[in-house]
Symmetry: C2
Subunit: 353 residues, 2 copies
Amino acid sequence: MRSEIAESVSVATRLIADRARFEAIGTELARRNPSVVVVAGRGTSDHAAIYARYLLEHALGVPVALAAASLLTQYGIESASPQSALLAFSQSGAGPDMIALVESAKRRGAYSIALTNDANSGLAAAADATAYLDAGPERAVAATKTYIAELISVALIAAAAARAVGRDAAWANEIEALPARMQASLDAASSWITSAADAPVFGALLRGNRTLVVGRGFEYPNALELALKLRETTAMFADGYSAADLLHGPIASANAEVPTIVLSTDPATEKSISGSLERLRAVSAPLLLVHSGASGSRGMAPLEELALPNGPSGPLCTPVTAIAGLAIIEAVATGRGLNPDAPQGLTKVTKTL
Amino acid sequence: MRSEIAESVSVATRLIADRARFEAIGTELARRNPSVVVVAGRGTSDHAAIYARYLLEHALGVPVALAAASLLTQYGIESASPQSALLAFSQSGAGPDMIALVESAKRRGAYSIALTNDANSGLAAAADATAYLDAGPERAVAATKTYIAELISVALIAAAAARAVGRDAAWANEIEALPARMQASLDAASSWITSAADAPVFGALLRGNRTLVVGRGFEYPNALELALKLRETTAMFADGYSAADLLHGPIASANAEVPTIVLSTDPATEKSISGSLERLRAVSAPLLLVHSGASGSRGMAPLEELALPNGPSGPLCTPVTAIAGLAIIEAVATGRGLNPDAPQGLTKVTKTL
């Protein structure tokens, strides 16, 4: 897992160099002029799909829906049409539910895109277009480099789509800076891990059985994914929440025994995050605030901080924070004496309908 | 909380008697012929919105999207159009994020529907149509009768919409049977609670700090809502998962210390639920299987069971299971010596953007 996290930087570099094939998909997606885009995935790929849910709505200005696969697979309801488009995410490309969604989309005239790390998979064969993740074989059960490859692929597709429809794509100018920022982010996380032995939040992560991860907007997919990764590698209960949803009930479960990681790298969401941070501090949750130089804790002690070299662009904060967060999760699992490459009770490919 | 749960039956009776005003909204929604419907809510209302996400896609055959409010409130992205429609759920009708979504919808020509328990609220004033929940004042912080009122309102709106577009609405023929079924369901839950003192799963719920709730399809909103209600009233970590999503990682956190409630009242999802049930049994999770007479555990001992008087109609299982599940959560909170009417750190109305 650790080496695959580090490898994410070269995966990102490779995908960005190969951007033309993603841009062709994004341009075609825009040309189809869908009135709604549907995204689908399971587990880690679900969280990459949620990134696409945000970024494609940003890029195209039309509603994006997260698929409810059960409507198709359990109830036989088909909602695709020539006015819709589908992005289906599956590292293995073998998920029967994802393949069923793509087949339904094709049958009903919707443009379908597969994002998969196996160009010869059933998912790739079924879809109109394949965004091959080119991440190399992923051996750890807990997906890391394929998550980041999915994020980068989505960013490249969305950037081309935004340009094709004449919407704001200024954020995309920084895509080429991502690999360097990701490397700097990983380095910052590694330094923090080395120095964090005495931080209350790190101790709580090593000992506890519950963790909260809070984000907003383009950090929300990371909040979900880091929580899932903690759950997979340590068997603890870890939950990701948007800073807004947290306050509508779940805040009741925050307390001094529950380490909480707050992702606040995007100045656009800083006010929303601050509201949650205040409530978390009021219940003495052991906190780790991950922020970019721009935001930060403004000296609110006692608070453990990790500053990442994020730029100001919300939509691209996701892969930069992801690599740092994943490194921290890996260190927590290892620090608990566990082998994060082979979590108990999980297999690399899970097939559901 | 306990009396408000019981009151849900008369609330349902009242709403069904008053069905014409919901049917008018459903018919108008269908007449607008949206190519996508967007639903939005926070906390408990988020889960009612997810019920609408499933049932309106079932009823209209077009994609339904759960809103990502932050795109509007944090990033200024507007995606509503005359081809879209919005349902915004807020018990108080005071949520600034919900009001912002409705205002954006109106500005951009999308038909907007408010579901709220305050007909004079800001949300009701902003929307094109208001589905007033008529549930009476809700005093417990943990919402129960307004959740069920939202479910019934959605069912009435969706039934009219399905009929208006000529799609299958056979499931809706049983709406009038709901209050009696809900009462029978509540009675069954009350009996189980009385007799459950020695059940391992009940003991684990009274002592533990982590719980899983598993559902699929039309039980998925209940899985989320029962988990939230446990979290709000006991401060434990409780998580709702679809039976499919559970297997893509979160199953790693299931074990003999984690009581797990499995909602399996809908024969359509029985196979999917069985797959999860098998995995949960393999790790010795203390289980409570909630099922209708039709499905059930087929004698898989040792397994605690609660049989509910559900009929065969998937889309209407939700309120019938909800009332039973809420009664169990209330008993757990009370059994832990807590006051579920006033959970620590929560207020009745939460305002976020």
